[in-house]
């Protein structure tokens, strides 16, 4: 494997800093550098879940504390060799995190501030249990008698080297995650978790994994810190100080970049050290407060976010050979008549409202099926249930013979079903290119990163958005946002595409463009179900139409026939009384 410049840079800086104990500097430098490494591990590890995915945890103190007490208890009370206690500290912290996540991440509404508070509450609960049980029991644990593993020439340098190794490892892990599938998935969760799931990101597993890694590293930092402070008490450990400092550092540095928290950790640690070492610690504390306020108000994306934004304008698109739309491998339309999607007695109720009431419908391979019905008839609900956005309350769905009901949305996406949203829901902080390549990675195509990027360029060229590849979705107009939705659906290389009112709000000219595009999509071998109110488009595109009314399917067949159906006429126009 070829190591990137960044990895070499991190390892080089680590090696350089590892030589400090042999320079004969006063011990003061070692303890200062120790604190830098300590806060770097904590802030970076916090960022892996909270910065990337937006689940701000205030419970980092709990995982840090578990690590601290594990190492302290095992080494001081049970006489384990200290280095052996560190993996256990990391493991126990990770177990608590994963256990907590397994419960919390299943409750959909516990996001944002609620997740922050819940994790803070967990900190106090864990702290109280530690204080009142044999883990601590009240007096705290002394580590004076614990033998310090001799990594460096002195005791303090050994502790520093442990933290340095931890910091280097954490930097590498953060970097690796950000540039991996996991990282991209977490960023998508940050922007819109529901859409991420529907696009094929296994959100629950990813959050759990990120939380586990984050907690393990916090536990490691805690274990080392127990030796550094050499006296552990519950009152000093399970406080709001660790989470607040860590949040502060990460937000100051920038949470959307792997190195952001490290920048913040260095800045805050230096500030605190500078002021506490000076004559006026109170003024120092106030200065930290003022800086925090100013940074959040004027640089809400953090130092690194601010700097990257300033340089972003100068960066151009990396030259990737973009095949013209014509170069796409031609695929003949496959109208085999084989049943692709077989929906039987599908029902969906929202409390009292029966949005879908026993719908039975077959979609044939290679066809374009128009889904019609008055407002509130259940068209969008049909798409939401088939794509797994909502679970069905009854009935069955078979896709190429495979049961879809009960599957999680990301499994449905990976099976080969893609969808668009009526109101475009792009990932707001990802570029147009990333929005598309993410789907190519996580959707039915399941490509690796390089392939996914190439695939994304291809489809951007297909829909005419290649000039906007580097733009953020907010910079697009409605027409472009609608086309971005389409592009995303296509990049998954779906067998079945569900289009939810892609034409609404477009001008007549744009509608013609879109109709031509949808035809091209079918010609490439995809089967299409589309919900639409624009009758001109329905008549032009649909091989068959299905009409829903009050959640029930009232007619299916060729468009011309269905439009003459008496039930359909009365559903749209009312029953004639005259």
């Amino acid at each position: 494997m070829i190591m990137s410049k960044t990895v070499i840079g991190i390892l080089g800086a680590g090696a350089l800093l590892a030589s400090v104990p042999w320079l004969g500097l006063p011990a003061f430098y070692e303890s200062f550098l120790y604190l830098l490494c300590h806060w770097m591990i904590l802030a970076l590890s916090w960022n892996i879940l909270s910065g990337y995915s937006g689940y701000f945890s205030f419970g980092h103190g709990a995982f840090f504390g578990i690590g601290m007490y594990t190492s302290a208890g095992l080494s001081a009370n049970l006489n384990w060799p200290f280095l052996w206690t560190l993996p256990v500290a990391a493991l126990l912290a990770a177990l608590l995190g994963v256990g907590l996540g397994a419960v919390v991440f299943r409750v959909k509404s516990v996001r944002g501030e609620l997740f922050a508070l819940l994790t803070l509450a967990v900190t106090f609960v864990v702290g109280t249990i530690v204080l009142n049980t044999r883990i601590d029991g009240g007096p705290g644990i002394y580590l004076n008698a614990v033998a310090i593993p001799a990594l460096g020439p002195t005791a303090s340098s050994s502790i520093y080297l442990m933290a340095l190794i931890g910091a280097v490892a954490t930097l590498l892990i953060s970097y690796r995650i950000q540039s991996s599938r996991l990282g991209l998935g977490l960023f998508a969760i940050h922007d819109d978790e529901d859409v991420a799931e529907v696009m094929g990101v296994p959100t629950f597993r990813y959050k759990l994994l990120a939380f586990g890694i984050s907690c393990a590293l916090a536990g490691l930092a805690g274990g080392i810190h127990a030796l550094f402070v050499s006296y552990v008490t519950a009152g000093e450990t399970f406080t709001i100080v660790v989470p607040l400092t860590v949040v502060l550092m990460s937000v100051l540095g920038g949470t959307r970049h792997w190195a952001g928290p490290a920048v913040g950790a260095v800045a805050i640690t230096c500030l605190m050290y500078f002021f506490t070492a000076g004559n006026n610690p109170i003024a120092g504390k106030a200065a930290v407060g003022v800086i925090l306020v100013l940074v959040i108000l004027f640089m809400p994306n953090g130092i690194l976010g601010y700097l990257l934004k300033r340089t972003a304008g100068k960066r151009s698109v990396p030259p990737v050979p973009v095949p013209a739309a014509a170069a796409l491998e031609p695929a003949a339309p496959v109208s085999t008549g084989k049943v692709l999607l077989d929906v039987r007695e599908l029902s969906k109720a929202f409390r009292g409202v029966q949005a879908l009431d026993g719908v039975t419908l077959q979609v044939h391979e290679g066809e374009i099926l128009g889904l019609l019905g008055p407002n509130g008839s259940g068209k969008s609900t049909f798409i939401n249930v088939v794509s797994g956005h909502f679970p069905a309350t009854g009935g069955q769905m078979f896709f190429e013979g495979r049961q879809l009901a009960g599957l999680e949305a990301h499994s449905i996406a990976q099976a080969g079903i893609a969808r668009t949203y009526q109101i475009p829901r792009p990932f707001a902080h990802l570029t147009v290119l990333q929005n598309v390549s993410l789907v190519a990675m996580f959707g039915g195509a399941a490509l690796n990163q390089a392939q996914a990027t190439a695939e994304a360029w291809k489809w951007l060229a297909f829909t005419g958005l290649q000039d906007k590849a580097d733009a953020l979705p907010d910079d697009l107009n409605l027409h472009q946002r609608k086309f971005l939705e389409l592009t995303r659906a296509l990049a998954a290389r779906p067998r079945l595409v569900l289009l939810d009112e892609v034409l609404s709000g477009l001008t007549p000219g744009e509608i013609n463009e879109a109709i031509a595009l949808i035809r091209k999509i079918r010609d490439r071998g995809a089967t299409i179900v589309f919900v639409e109110h624009v009758m001109r488009a329905v008549m032009a595109l649909a091989d068959r139409v299905a009409v829903l009314n009050h959640g029930k399917l009232i007619a299916v067949g060729p468009a011309q026939d269905v439009m003459k159906n008496a039930d359909v006429v009365s559903a749209y126009l009312g029953t004639p009384h005259a």
Partner: protein, 285 residues
Amino acid sequence: MSFPSFNLLAQSVLSGIFIGGLYGLIGLGLGLTWGLLRQINLAHFGLVFLAAYMSYHMATVWHVDPLLTLLILPPLFFLFGVGMQWVLSRFAISPFNSLLVTFGITVVMESIIQAIWTADFRRLETHYNDQKFTVGSLYVPVPELVTLVIAVSLSLLIWAAMRYTDLGKALRAMAEDGAIASAFGINQKGMSLMLAGICAALAAVAGICLALTFTLTPSQIFAWVGVVFAAVMLGGLGSALGPLVAGIIIGVSEAITMAVAAPSWAPIVSFSLLIVMLLFRPGKL
């Protein structure tokens, strides 16, 4: 674990009600800004302590009756709250960033308090301190009773105002959807300034009550955050009566835990309640 006498238990419950009233009083303003302005205002705790220290200063140095400071401090804090909101409203900040900004403000306040009154423990000594009376076999301390009465009456007052006045209705509409409320002629900016002012004034009242019943030290600011947050969340964001009711439930359950088990077990009650609430009734928040 030993089972305490009935009398001890009753006295515990009573003191739980009193401390719960203070939780509710501190949580009242916090919950209103959180629910209606979508700001998690940690500076509320800084304001509570600032008011507590100012009341302490007026009473011990200038010999002003502490209850008289109730007339002086809240208007002063109202202006301060309006000013702070005026500055913050010039920036579009997310609820989460509001937490961080107000944390910074709180740290500054803590430093100011420490610079003026030092980190030593301070106790407001007045003739109210020792006043108590007995009901049956139970002692009722006057400062705690005053706090409870203030907490209950302010919560009821705000609840009624939110429910029955046009102003309250406008505030609730604004919380629901600010842009739409503006389109219907609600002066969003003016309303949020006023609400922030009222919440700061409420912080001042809570601070005076705190000074009457507790020993003060600057680092205690953050000790109240957890439990008051729990009361606010359990009671419901933006609710006027919720924090008081939840505060009293927490206070009483803490007091019973202290009496039955040990004082050090007390925090587990409120936070376990909060966790259970968040997991099983998240829709209510």
